[in-house]
Symmetry: C2
Subunit: 334 residues, 2 copies
Amino acid sequence: MNLDARHQTMVTLAKVAEAAGVGESTVSRVLRNHGSFSRKTRDRVMEAVERLGYVPNRIAGTLASAGSRLVALVIPSLTNIVFADVLRGASAILEGNQHQAVFSVTEYEPEKEEALVAAMLAWRPTAVMLAGFEHSEGTVKMLRASGCRVVELLDLDGAAQDLAVGFSNRAAGSVSADFLLRRGYRKIGYVGHDLDRDTRAAKRFASFRERLGAAGFPLVDSEIHAGASSVEGGRLALERLLARMPDLDAVYFSNDDMALGGYFHCLARGIQVPERLALFGHNGLDIGRVTPQPLSTIRTPRVATGRVAAELVVTDAPAQVVDLGFELIEGATA
Amino acid sequence: MNLDARHQTMVTLAKVAEAAGVGESTVSRVLRNHGSFSRKTRDRVMEAVERLGYVPNRIAGTLASAGSRLVALVIPSLTNIVFADVLRGASAILEGNQHQAVFSVTEYEPEKEEALVAAMLAWRPTAVMLAGFEHSEGTVKMLRASGCRVVELLDLDGAAQDLAVGFSNRAAGSVSADFLLRRGYRKIGYVGHDLDRDTRAAKRFASFRERLGAAGFPLVDSEIHAGASSVEGGRLALERLLARMPDLDAVYFSNDDMALGGYFHCLARGIQVPERLALFGHNGLDIGRVTPQPLSTIRTPRVATGRVAAELVVTDAPAQVVDLGFELIEGATA
DNA sequence: TTTGAAATTGGTAGCGCTGCCAAAATATCT
DNA sequence: AGATATTTTGGCAGCGCTACCAATTTCAAA
């Protein structure tokens, strides 16, 4: 790009100052509504801003002032509504506080997470928000060195670097197990997705399984769909699981997407839910409330997680762990 | 924040240069792999970078060099998977080309879109991507003045400002009408969501309705769910529509989410699909492929839209309109 | 009026980096 | 060896803005 051409066209603060017949710092103060200035000056400046169509350059502003007011969200997936909800909650708060959310997607790959965190840190964000506690050594080192706030989301079972907001996946897993046991199910299976990557789902599963074992009704069998969680994955995996273990009486799914797939399988095959087979999910997605039978699941505080995380960041709160809990939804599938 | 404290801690390019015993510009060249330098110098610099844990400051870099390599995506909603898919496509390409996606959500509100575009322009992005052609006057003016590339997504029925990528919603609407007519449906209704905001859905509906009228079988009735599109909205709206018009033989939905809600309503009420009532959606979401009966719908090129848009931007392609088309999915609900 | 305090303003030195240019080092050729 | 091309380097002036400070103006009290 031709720099000179750009410089001729670009409206800068200096040009506004000249047009308004005031000093640069005055324009800066007026625009940021910071410091003092007379009403008359303000009007003159605003008139010039309007007339020239001036748009402040935050790049320059940030460089000069240290605070970028950018918050980086590094999330595993956008396909998963869970993270879209977190983003929604966070954006809402950030926008109301002159901050900007910047996000990128790791596809659940730690190496990608590391690369993205590096890229984000180059923008000197106020904070970086990540899913969960499991990060590569390099990621942790960079974050620590950067000095910016770190918020780990949607997990509490582990050691937080700085701030953490969410709920305990282990608790969710055992509550789910207790519920199924209380309802009298005894031959329980599990349908999940790639657990190496989704460590939060892995924690739920581990805890679920432990609880069943402790109650004397150990998990009968499990089927892991290779790949990311999806409705289709849930359907296929349940089909495979039932082929092996036709007399299961309940299945716990790694999340609602997978559970929905399982439910569709049952509908398609005429398997009576929950009489013949009970289904239990995790997340409490809206769609699960509207299926012919509402899904039995656990509602997780997704939007609230984003919101609270953002609030902690904008208020520069001290390091802490915030447990937002979750809610059992009895539904009609278990 | 205390500036001095920060300055003491921050590793800057100058410190790396000093540690490596070379000049600043040499470090800059090595890090950007631009210009020439000896192998030995490169190693010395990289060693220092490694040792000090230096992370380049892109804020400063951008200010000095003019190109931010940021691409702003201003989308209506994250709840709607459509936009998540666009983002996914765009991110993938941008990341592979040293660009960063920055996004924010308008909630379908034009005033919010305008505010967000202003906020994004402050970061001097390479391009701004928006949904559709309908923007406030202020938004258009700002974009024009900014001189950055503009990409309008998922719509072709209107006048593009610069680049446009997507498909024709009007065409999708008439193809949908033709399909239902070809199948022999004659008493057709419509279930949609807030059309003032989702202008693309409005275009589909308008075209759908025109086509039915032209064929001599005008739309019998329609029911608009107040609020954003959702599965629940579809279910409730279909229920209301059928209460008024019990003898409809087919319903066209504003999108798959709404259609899914309608489908669930039919399942719950035992309404035979498609014999008693046919359902037709729009978007071709994955979940619609896995329901007991796959949804009849139109698959839209969402990920490709994001991908192509990003490619056009990174290659600095000339202004143009790219039609990615769509695909009819016959499914089993119509 | 005088005086001091308070409110308002402008000048200017950076923020950390890149682009340009000239200088230095190295390689290649008579 | 000397001269010329080539590669490699460092210095430094900005990029557009904000923080800081000093200068100026305004206001109120004495």
